[in-house]
Amino acid sequence: MRTLLRRSPPRPRSDAALKRHKWYVPLVFVGPVLILQGTFLFTPLVNTFVLAFTDASTVGGGTFVGLRNFTDLAGDNEFWAAVGRTFIYMAFTVPVIVALSTSLALLVNTSLRGSSVVRLLLFSPMVMPLATIAVMFQFVLESDGLINQVLAGLHLITEPIPFLSSSDLALLSLMLVTIWKGCALSTLITLAALQNVSTELDEAASLDGAGWLRRTWNVTLPQIRGTTILVAVLVSIAVLRVFAEPYIITGGGPGTSTETIVLYLFQKGVSPGTQAGYASAISLVLFVFVLAIAAVSWMLTKRRRA
């Protein structure tokens, strides 16, 4: 015998039901989060905003100086050089990470034998602290490091390649570290997107005679375009704030050849006695750059939806 359990239709909420709770009840629920966010996010943010208009030092003090920090920043060649360097860093690493992580995700997504081992190896950088990775790569890239020893062992070079000791190569070397580290998370995100790709479309294309490359290019990739954009935006924002690699591996050198925006900010306003006000102005400019990237992402997403 078939029994149908029928739920009575929900009663429409009356204004009286809504008013049964006091107005402050929602505040009680969100209060703890608001307090935490207010203390550890918004207060420092507002503090930074205020400090940017003062001549405060890291040991305190400071008076209101209006827009002086920003006008100084506008004429600060070293800052703009750091900005240019960071954008070059971004222009190189973001496409490479996106392309590489997409390719790796496509490969890992196959059911080839050994792909689970490859997945494990691929994602291992994600669980390693960036500081550890940076130190590891320093040993790999130094003059008598692993790469130079291998190249010398293969008789491909007679003199070690100055990966870290040349102003021309140091930034590129750091980019490789960022790419190695950045690929893991990006691949994971892309792989998750690939799991949701419609197999019916792929099979239909296959029946139509399309090969793997064509199916991938014309069927699979368009379906994960949104994720690819998301990965590109996330990587762009991360690269804009790149710090650990230049700080640990090269210290910004040789000279200032690997000095990025955040490293410059650190040198200007975190060491003892340096200019906290000026550094706050730099961080506000960096904040604007990050906002701009987020805005571009929003526009791309909006256009896609339209």
């Binding site: 507002v46 205020v50 040991v59 305190g60 003090g61 130094e142 000791s165 591996i249 050198g253 040789p254």
Partner: protein, 431 residues
């Protein structure tokens, strides 16, 4: 309406909280005029040291107990923090006006407090004990006419030599280099004969090299950098030649701080100028290299002088008990207490009476005692040189960054030093 008012009130309270956090509602630390430290000794003070616990717990607790016994009714609350976090914590404490009453600080961390006039001027508060200290130790804590702290423990280097490398280079019988210019010459020969480097220049060491060569680094009133002199240009040029010939390690400019010790203990360099305390580390890490080490007098002792690292004991002007704080600082840095500390460690006392102790004059029995007597002699004979307090970590990093391209041969040394001088002057002007 009530809801709006309540929300408005909450927003106002939040804004007030935020602005208080921003330090806009006052509470900035006192600076400028000196404070009266002549009051009665008593009450409670806080005392902060840098990474002395747990090794020196007994010593510090003993000093505190003795001070409290001599001054009944006095309590000293001791805290010890890791050296790595000293700058960050001191900055935060200074900004929040909550510095401990007595602070053990290195000159780099002390410098910004002194520049802002946040610490008691020891020239006035401790004028009665000033002559007890080694002159250069006292001078190294002087910031624009005021002395920011009482000198506590010191370090000054010895020259370590890898005798095997020197023998291989045919330099075994040669006298030790006496200056950095001579070290450069010897390093070129070491590289030529052995393929190994002579020494590894460092970021921290670079201002000391220039100072020892007679380059003042800053002008008399610390308002302008002076690093672009013929002596400096010639020295940087010689480093570039060494970089080319292998007289210094290939990764010198990208090397981490203190990696020069690793390079030396791996047998990669013939010379290392460092504190005697490193001998123990080398003995533990590389016993074979330790057996090859010979010691010599530090570079510069026959010229302008060798470098000196000073730890000072400062008293913030914001201390609620400055009289007791200054009394404790004097007691802690007294000759007897400093000698007791030096005998338990590898640091050197900063008072002449304690340096005069037979402990530092003993005939060398091993490398450690030999290093101790060499360094003590540098201090006692006035062969150390006080670096201007303006030459702090920011200055040092900017100078090293400025000369790196010149060492690599990418930029002309004179141009590199001119640029560095301009940048350093801008840093000094911004302070």
């Amino acid at each position: 309406m009530a809801r709006r008012k309540a929300i408005g009130g909450l927003l106002a309270a939040a804004s007030a909280l935020v602005l208080t956090g921003c330090g806009l509602t006052g509470g900035s630390p006192p600076s400028g005029e000196d404070v009266d430290t002549s009051g009665e000794v008593g009450g409670t003070i806080t005392f902060q040291t840098l990474q002395l616990s747990p090794v020196f717990d007994d010593y510090i607790n003993g000093v505190i107990t003795e001070f409290e016994r001599r001054h009944p009714g006095t309590t000293v609350e001791w805290t010890d923090i890791p050296s790595d976090s000293a700058a960050r914590k001191t900055n935060a404490d200074a900004a929040a006006n909550s510095l401990p009453d007595v602070l053990d600080l290195d000159t780099g961390t002390l410098a910004p407090l002194a520049r802002k006039g946040l610490v008691v001027d020891m020239d006035r508060a401790a004028a009665d004990v000033k002559t007890d200290f080694v002159d250069t130790a006292w001078d190294s804590l002087s910031f624009g006419g005021t002395s920011a702290a009482l000198p506590w423990y010191l370090n000054t280097p010895v020259l370590m030599k890898n005798e095997d490398i020197l023998a291989e280079a045919g330099l075994a019988e040669e006298p030790d280099p006496a200056s950095y210019v001579e070290l450069v010459d010897v390093s070129a020969k070491v590289a030529r004969e052995t393929g190994k480097a002579g020494f590894q220049p460092t970021e921290i060491g670079f201002p000391n090299y220039l100072l020892s060569l007679g380059v003042p680094l800053v002008n008399d009133d610390d308002t302008r950098a002076v690093v672009n002199t013929p002596a400096a240009v010639a020295f940087v040029k010689s480093l570039a030649e060494l970089q080319e010939s292998g007289g210094i390690p290939a990764d010198t400019v990208s090397a981490q701080q203190r990696s020069e010790i690793e390079t030396f203990q791996e047998g990669g360099t013939a010379y290392l100028e460092t504190g005697g305390s490193r001998l123990k580390i080398i003995e533990e890490n590389a016993p074979a290299i330790y057996q090859q080490i010979g010691l010599g007098r530090p570079l510069g002792v026959t010229g302008k002088g060798t470098w000196l690292v000073t730890h000072g004991v400062a008293v913030p002007k914001a201390s609620k008990n400055p009289a007791t704080a200054v009394a404790f600082a004097k007691f802690l840095t007294s000759s007897a207490n400093q000698l007791a500390l030096a005998k338990r460690s590898s640091v050197f006392p900063s008072t002449t009476a304690s340096l005069d102790d037979p402990f530092f004059q003993a005939k060398p029995a091993d490398l450690v005692t030999e290093a101790r007597s060499i360094a003590a002699a540098s201090l006692m004979e006035g062969n150390t040189i006080a670096k201007s307090a303006s030459v702090d970590s920011e200055f040092t990093a900017a100078l090293w960054s400025g000369v790196q391209p010149a060492i690599l041969g990418e930029v002309d040394p004179e141009r590199a030093l001119a640029n560095a001088e301009m940048k350093l002057t801008a840093i000094l002007e911004a302070r």
